[in-house]
Amino acid sequence: MSKIILIGASHKTAPVELREKLSFSQEQIETALDFIKRDPGIKEGLVFSTCNRLEFLYIPGNQALDNNDGIDTVMRFISELKQLPVPEFKSSLYIHRDDDAVRHLFCVAASLDSMVVGEPQILGQVKKAYKTAVSAGTTGVLLNRLMHKSFSVAKRVRKQTGIGDNAVSISYAAIELAHKIFADLATKSVMLIGAGEMAELAVEHLMTHQVKKIVVANRTFKNALDLARKFNGKAVQYEERESALADVDIIISSTGATDYVLTRDQVKRVMKKRQNKTLFFIDIAVPRDIDPRINKISNAYVYDIDDLKNIVETNISQREQETVRAQGFVEEALLAFRRWLDELAVVPTIKAINRKMTDIVNLECEKTLAGLPHLSTADTDAIRRMTRAIASRAIHDPILFLRHTGDHRDDSFYLNVARQLFNLDILDHN
């Protein structure tokens, strides 16, 4: 019997159409948690659903309703709730048990399993799922500890590896560069020449840094006006773009023009007017809009789309190196959790032995004392004390033995034997 089970499907195992069908809304998650709560075969459980994955993490109880640790039950539940026959999604599911489940969870929380490794949103999403499960009352000692450990390892990975450090998209890369050129983006102005998704995305990123003003130029003045309105900026005539250079610091260019939109001589002239203040050109167009010789001008920097792509690729490969380190942290955390989990099994066993002894002692003691009404209170107390002392000392050695778990012993074997010796219950670990 496994102690921890994780069933799920992610962008790695299921195509987006299937993921869409499987994705749980917040309401459905609550329904699922309710199901988990009511099912006697599941002790603790948590449901996690984003556009890229669906995961059921649970601790199977001692009376699973099926022979498969509750896995069939969960699959049937998903099938009913999402109105999807099991065979349709079964092949896209992964089922992790124990160590694998813990490792998978830690990797997910640390963004190692994400589409873009190192993305920052996933931890917040995992935390939210945990919070929902806590509110629903479906978490217990095991899941609480497991989830908190996953947050720790995620935090450690983010902090101690460079995994989330650098931009892996063109727009972010451009902004990263802008930060290395200009000290305070809030005092800088931006000019957008042309239009296009990537260019507009870059402008939007810059807007979140509260740049001073945004100017838009376009061959078609009406388009310039529309975009200017979108960005709360000003539109200028395409022919005025050179003079507009005097008052802006960052230029994003994305037009369909075949020749250069800005030439070296134009920029040289403007540099004089600007007292040589720094200019940063982001040229997303193909063919290029900005004359590359402008990069040779002092205090002017030109990055075309290939340059930005190179930065992104370097960052991605750096991220991959950091991934190896991050996985090391995950393994460390896994080992620590496993040790804790193993120790946990001893405690309830000892508790159960204690309980059993106490029950036996109390039962026999009261039975006997019932037939000795002539004894004084002092006598009965003394007898009771004696029986309790006998029980304590009798199990003292076995408990000591169980407590001192060493790494060279197969503890679950001994625990198993102990439980059988004392007939404590339940199912064996094998």
Binding site: D165, K277, Y303
Partner: protein
């Protein structure tokens, strides 16, 4: 080695400076802020000990200890440390510590290791103008040394960005704008201090030798360096000589200054000669 207290203190200070240099190099590679803070602290402690040593020496000599090359280097080290701490307080340009502490350590190692010829302090080197001249010149040159450091950092970062290959330094250096701002502040402050230093020197010369200017080699070269920085500031304000050009000029200017400080009197004699014996 002399067994006197000031010298022991100087060795102690040098020890702290060396620790901070090591710390800053670690910071350069591993970027852990805790290391940087420790290194900065080490500079602070070293500077306090150093100051104490110089105060003791001054008391013993009856004037500032600048009679031998070793003593001059020691004064340079202390003023550089002091100005570095001030720049950190003002700008917190952490990475500058690599350059500054390396320079301080070199100065101090030379100061304590170079063989000293016993010098009888010359009675004429007294008075408020002399005192002011020394302090202002040393602090001014230290600021210009830091401006050179900021300039080097600027050129490194600019190379990474212009060359489209963000290398080792790209992540470790702040923005170009910030480096330029630090450089500019150091240049203008250093220039002001240098100006006052030269003026007090002139006044002192008049009071001692009867004329403001004696065409001593050091005087001439100092004037040359001063003109270079004056030109740099003028060009910056009027012709937009900012960024790359300013960084290059601050490096060149400082090289001239080093030559002025050390080389001139080594090679060419003059009334400043006594200080570099």
């Amino acid at each position: 080695m002399f067994m006197n207290i000031p010298f022991i203190l100087l060795q102690c200070a040098t020890f702290f400076y060396l620790i901070s240099t090591g710390g800053y190099f670690c910071y350069l590679f591993y970027q852990k802020d805790r290391i940087q803070q420790t290194a900065l602290g080490a500079v602070g402690i070293g500077a306090v000990v150093h100051l104490f040593a110089i105060v003791l020496q001054s008391a013993a000599l009856g004037g500032l200890p600048i009679y031998t090359i070793g003593q001059s280097l020691s004064m340079a080290g202390l003023s550089l440390a002091a100005m570095f701490i001030y720049v950190q307080y003002r700008f917190y340009l952490k990475i500058l510590g690599v350059y500054a502490t390396a320079m301080i350590s070199v100065l101090m190692l030379a100061a304590i290791l170079l063989p000293e010829a016993a010098q009888a302090p010359d009675k004429i080197y007294k008075g408020i103008f002399f005192f002011g001249h020394i302090i202002l010149i040393f602090t001014g040159e230290s600021m210009l040394a830091l401006a050179c450091g900021a300039g080097i950092l600027y050129l490194l970062q600019e190379q990474g960005i212009k060359g489209k290959s963000p290398g080792f330094f790209f992540k470790r250096l702040p923005s170009l704008d910030f480096l330029d701002a630090v450089s500019y502040t150091c240049i203008s402050t250093g220039f002001a201090l240098l100006t006052f230093g030269l003026v007090t020197g002139l006044i002192y010369a008049r009071s001692v030798w009867g004329s403001f200017w004696r065409w001593d080699v050091k005087e001439v070269f100092s004037l040359g360096a001063w003109l270079v920085y004056a030109a740099l500031l003028h060009l910056r304000l009027n012709s937009g000589w900012r960024g790359r050009n300013s960084a290059i000029m601050s490096v060149i200017g400082f090289i001239i200054l080093i030559f002025t400080f050390l080389g001139v009197n080594f090679f060419l004699g003059g009334h400043h000669q006594g200080f570099t014996q």
